[in-house]
C-alpha cells in the first residue's frame, strides 16, 4: 500500500510510535542511530550517518553474563536478551544491506542469540536516498538506494514522504500513523530520479571483476598491498565506522563483587588482534590492512555466494584520518586485472 504524510510531521510520527524508536540523531555535528527521545535533533536527511545502524543490533559493547566467584565455586547468570519490540526509523539502503551481511554471520548456525533477539523484535523503516553523497557507491554491492528493502519504505518527494509498506509487520506499524492513501506515481518518479543521480556519482561503477574466491591467492600476493597499506596507522576508525565489520572481543571485568563478561567491538587493524602467547601471524600493518580488505572483497564472497561484505556506504572514505579507503583498494587491485 502507498500512503503519504508531510515531511514536517515526521517528528510527530516518530514521537507517536508506541515502541522504542531508534533514529538518526544529530549531536555536536555527528549523527548516529540513537534511542529517540523528545528534544533530540532528528537527522533524517543525513547520508550516511557518522555512526552506522550496526550499533543498534550489535552495540559497541554489551554484557553477556555475570559470574559470582567464591572460593573454588563459580555461579553464572546470563544477561537478559532483548524482549521488546522496537522500530528503526530512517535506515538507508546501505544500512539494510549491511544488516543482511551481519545476518549471514550472526544468524548462521550456531545462532548468536544476543543479536538474533534484537533482529527479531525490530521493525525497519527505511528512507530512499534522494540526495546521495559523492562518497556513495552502494549499487556496486547490491543495495538499491531507490528502493531499500525494509518493512516500510519512505520516499521523500517535495515536501512529503510517500510511504510504502512491504511486510505485514510494516503494515501494522503504518496503521498506527493514520495516514492518507496516495498515488504510486510520485514514488516511481523518484526512483527514476535517484537512478539518474546515482549515475553521476564518481564511484557509481567500480570494476569488481576478479574479487572472488578463485582469485584469492593472486589478490593476496599482490605486491600493491605494501604501498596501499603504508600510510595506515592501524587505528580502528574504519572498522568502527563500518556497518559490516563485526569482529569482536570477549573480555572480563572484575567489579570487585563479581565478574562481568562483556563483548566489545574489536578490529583486525589492531596489533594485538591475533596475538597469542607464541606470537602473531600478522606482525605488520601490511598483513592486518590486507586482512580487512581481503575479508570484505574476497573471503566473505567466497563463503557467501558472492555477497560482498562491503556495502558502499562510504563511511571509511569519510573517516580515515589518512584518507585510505576501500575504493582505492578496489581500483588499485582491479586495474591489475585488466593489464
Amino acid at each position: 500500500m502507498t500512503y503519504q504524510f508531510p515531511k514536517a510531521n515526521a517528528e510527530a510520527i516518530v514521537k507517536g510510535i508506541s515502541r522504542a524508536v531508534y533514529a538518526p540523531v544529530e549531536k555536536d555535528g555527528l549523527t548516529s542511530f540513537e534511542r529517540y527521545e523528545a528534544g533530540m535533533n532528528l537527522a533524517l536527511d543525513t547520508i550516511p550517518t557518522d555512526k552506522s545502524m550496526k550499533d543498534v543490533f550489535f552495540p559497541q559493547w554489551e554484557n553477556l553474563m555475570h559470574f559470582r566467584v567464591e572460593g573454588k565455586t563459580i555461579e553464572l547468570t546470563e544477561e537478559e536478551r532483548c524482549h521488546q519490540d522496537f522500530v528503526i526509523f530512517g535506515a538507508r539502503a546501505c544500512d539494510i544491506q549491511a544488516v543482511k551481511v551481519l545476518d549471514k554471520v550472526f544468524l548462521a548456525d550456531p545462532v548468536d542469540s544476543y543479536y538474533a533477539s534484537r533482529r527479531e523484535h525490530c521493525t525497519l523503516v527505511a528512507l530512499a536516498c534522494d540526495k546521495p553523497e559523492d562518497s556513495c557507491f552502494c549499487k556496486n554491492f547490491g543495495a538499491d538506494p531507490a528502493s531499500p528493502d525494509a518493512d516500510v519504505t519512505l520516499y521523500p518527494v517535495g515536501d512529503d514522504y510517500y510511504v510504502q509498506t512491504n511486510t505485514e509487520k510494516g503494515e501494522a506499524l503504518v496503521k498506527e500513523w493514520n495516514l492518507d492513501k496516495a498515488e504510486e506515481g510520485p514514488v516511481e518518479w523518484l526512483k527514476g530520479e535517484i537512478g539518474k543521480k546515482y549515475e553521476e556519482l564518481p564511484f557509481a561503477h567500480l570494476n569488481l571483476k576478479g574479487f572472488d574466491g578463485e582469485h584469492l591467492k593472486e589478490k593476496f600476493d599482490s605486491p600493491k598491498w605494501k604501498k596501499l597499506s603504508m600510510a595506515c596507522l592501524g587505528c580502528g576508525s574504519c572498522t568502527f565506522a563500518c556497518p559490516t565489520c563485526q569482529c569482536y572481543d570477549i573480555r572480563d571485568y572484575d567489579t570487585g563483587n563479581g565478574v562481568q563478561r562483556y563483548r566489545c567491538w574489536d578490529s583486525c587493524m589492531y596489533s594485538d588482534f591475533t596475538l597469542m602467547a607464541a606470537g602473531t601471524p600478522r606482525p605488520h600493518q601490511l598483513e592486518r590492512y590486507r586482512q580487512r580488505f581481503m575479508h570484505k572483497l574476497v573471503y566473505f564472497p567466497a563463503n557467501n555466494d558472492g555477497m560482498y561484505s562491503c556495502v558502499g556506504c562510504g563511511r571509511c572514505i569519510k573517516k580515515c584520518p589518512m584518507h585510505l579507503h576501500i575504493v582505492k583498494v578496489i581500483k588499485a587491485l582491479g586495474e591489475e586485472e585488466s593489464k
Binding site: 571485568y253 567489579t255 570487585g256 563483587n257 562481568q260
Partner: protein, 147 residues
C-alpha cells in the same frame, strides 16, 4: 575514630605511603596512640615516585572518595630525588583532574617524615574531614564497581 557525615555515609580513602618516611610515620602515630580515621587504607610503596598516575585513577575507579600520597620531605628521599619527580607528576595530574572538573580536594600530597607521627595523624584527620565534606565521589568512579 570514624568519620561519618549526616547521612551516615563514610568516606573511603586510599593513602599511598612511602616505605622510608610516611609509612614509618604512620607506625609512629599508631605506637604513639594517635588516632586517625579507620577508613583510610594505607598502601605501602617503595617511594612516592613509584606511584603511577594510573594508581590514583584506579583507586578512584574502585570506589575511593579521596586519594592522598605521602612521601619523605623534599630533599630527604631515600633514593635522593624520587619525591622531586613525584611532586611534578602529581602537580600535573591534580591539575588535569581539576581541569576535567573533578573536585580539587579529593587528591592531596603531604610530606611526612618517619618522626612525624603527629603530623601523619593530623594530616589524615584533616583529609578525611575534607572528603567527608565533599561527600561521595560521583565524578570519577566506575559504575560497574558500585553495588
Amino acid at each position: 575514630m570514624q568519620m561519618v557525615n549526616e547521612t551516615g555515609w563514610k568516606p573511603k580513602i586510599v593513602a599511598f605511603c612511602c616505605n622510608w618516611c610516611s609509612y614509618a610515620g604512620a607506625d609512629l602515630a599508631g605506637s604513639g596512640r594517635l588516632s586517625y580515621p579507620a577508613d583510610i587504607k594505607i598502601i605501602r610503596v617503595p617511594c612516592s615516585c613509584r606511584v603511577n598516575p594510573l594508581f590514583i585513577l584506579r583507586a578512584f575507579e574502585r570506589g575511593a572518595d579521596g586519594v592522598i600520597l605521602c612521601g619523605c620531605h623534599p630533599g630527604d628521599c631515600h633514593y635522593t630525588s624520587g619525591n622531586y619527580y613525584a611532586r611534578r607528576r602529581m602537580t600535573m595530574l591534580f591539575s588535569m583532574l581539576d581541569y576535567l572538573g573533578i573536585e580539587r580536594g579529593r587528591t592531596r600530597v603531604e610530606w611526612v617524615s618517619a618522626a612525624e607521627g603527629a603530623k601523619f595523624s593530623a594530616t589524615m584527620n584533616d583529609f578525611a574531614k575534607t572528603i567527608t565534606e565533599l561527600g561521595e565521589n560521583r565524578k570519577l568512579g566506575d559504575l560497574r564497581c558500585k553495588k
